[in-house]
Symmetry: C2
Subunit: 281 residues, 2 copies
């Protein structure tokens, strides 16, 4: 028997439908696995939490909500520019004090289309985190980000972060994080990503985005970058995490793209299951 895969999400009520779609894709593509979902939030209402709990039960997934005390957090905040939720994913290992294994943070604008176990069990080689970059080492933005954030590693996308809970707790110092945000208030472009990269990028193992954080907008880019080997056949057989990055989301009107039908079918399966879960109570 293998261990439970512990998923972490941080979102508000608006993101409940895509979250459900993401969870459905996790379950369909990971038969035989046990999952536990941690939701870190401060504004999701009691009813939405109950409904999410019913939905997770239907999926055979354990569910725990961690309510972040908004006021206590408010005093510690350094900046008014960013919602405090941006910090939650980075504080997950500290907030989920029960966690002694690993945690897998996932954005809700994701489909999981193949097993997650190989990522869950990856050798972190002494690092606290694993994440993927959407930018090649030779991409001009990579050099710019290195100068901008004074780092010497890739610029990681923070939509998927594997965390070693114990190791991460040692690295994450809340006061340091808040201080950094304060000091760099006007130079930060992508708050959640910039902070993660500046402070924790050096403790992060780089994993392949084409497997673990595939940017769903960039089918043609990946195809070219891999010299034609990442065909749709290859992607659907090997990529585990499809990330619908960017402004245009597949649950919105007018979206189109290579993975449009795929997303919308999962969405349909998820919302149908949700209706049943809520009806059963």
């Amino acid at each position: 028997m293998t261990d439970t895969i512990e998923l972490v999400v941080c979102c508000d009520e608006n993101y409940m439908p895509p979250l459900r779609t993401m969870l459905m894709s996790v379950v369909i593509n990971n038969p035989g696995e046990r999952f536990r979902l941690w939701l870190l939030h401060s504004t999701v209402g009691a009813r939405a939490l109950e409904e999410l709990d019913s939905y997770c039960s239907l999926l055979g997934m354990r569910f725990d909500a961690v309510t972040v005390d908004r006021e206590a957090f408010e005093e510690a905040r350094s900046s008014k520019r960013y919602p405090q939720e941006m910090y939650y994913r980075m504080f997950a290992p500290r907030m989920i004090t029960e966690a002694h294994s690993r945690l897998l943070y996932l954005d809700p604008d994701i489909l999981v289309i193949n097993p997650l176990r190989a990522l869950w069990e990856i050798d972190l080689e002494g690092n606290s985190f694993a994440a993927a970059s959407h930018l090649d080492a030779v991409h001009p933005a990579t050099a710019l980000n290195k100068v901008r954030l004074d780092t010497d590693h890739q610029y990681f996308n923070t939509g998927v972060i594997l965390m070693d809970a114990e190791a991460a707790r040692k690295v994450i110092v809340p006061s340091e994080l808040l201080e950094y945000a304060q000091d760099h208030e006007y130079s930060i472009l992508f708050p959640d990503q910039d902070l993660f990269n500046a402070l924790y990028g050096c403790y992060t193992l780089a994993v392949k985005d084409v497997l673990w954080n595939y940017d769903a907008r960039k089918y043609a880019d990946y195809y070219l970058r891999t010299m034609g080997s990442s065909t749709m056949q290859w992607v659907m057989a090997n990529t585990s995490i499809l990330h619908f990055c960017g402004r245009e989301k597949p649950w919105q009107q007018g979206y189109s793209g290579r993975f449009d039908a795929l997303y919308k079918n999962y969405d349909q399966v998820a919302q149908r299951a949700f209706a049943r879960a809520v009806a059963q109570g």
Copy 2:
């Protein structure tokens, strides 16, 4: 509690992988339904039948194979041009003597992406069958087919046929079917479809192809025909049966199309489940 939906397929061993993909899509998109699968065949080996049985068990689906006596059938055959399997779907109501309700014949190059119950329970209005046409009433091929086959109804696609077993038994006279095939040996273009249309088209209720037999090659055609209302959003919420008609199949190298990622993900989920089913025995 609703009744079991009885599915009929007719294929050889080469079609086992797409058949498994089709069945997976049926189950994922029809939660709460019970299904029974009837396989009409004459050449599928004992091992493949056992494996399909294990797979159906894993899906919670009852499975029955009906072996057609090839030799007995051989004597009755009128033509050497067509494989005898082409007759099986039309003889299904006679071969499955236990069936007292309805039967839903499905080609294996199909994905079921929404519930089937509304088709299963459709009012047949006194007809023995229900099927969809892929050609508009005003399409030139429709007029041609009417003259060619001496019919005054639409030209039905036979990839999806709902049958009222009792009513169909009265209409289907094997000798008549074989005689027709013999008499029209050289004028028949699409053997399974031409025979069905010529002999049983007049007993067939026309249902909407956009719902029950959507030609997956023709997204743009449907979009135009419905004056822009059948968007991908609409299709994924309303269409129940996606049919990958034509020569190019989504499980073959080089295929591409709007539903490519969708098909390949179901294929992946199905083949993964099949490996588990076979391992468990």
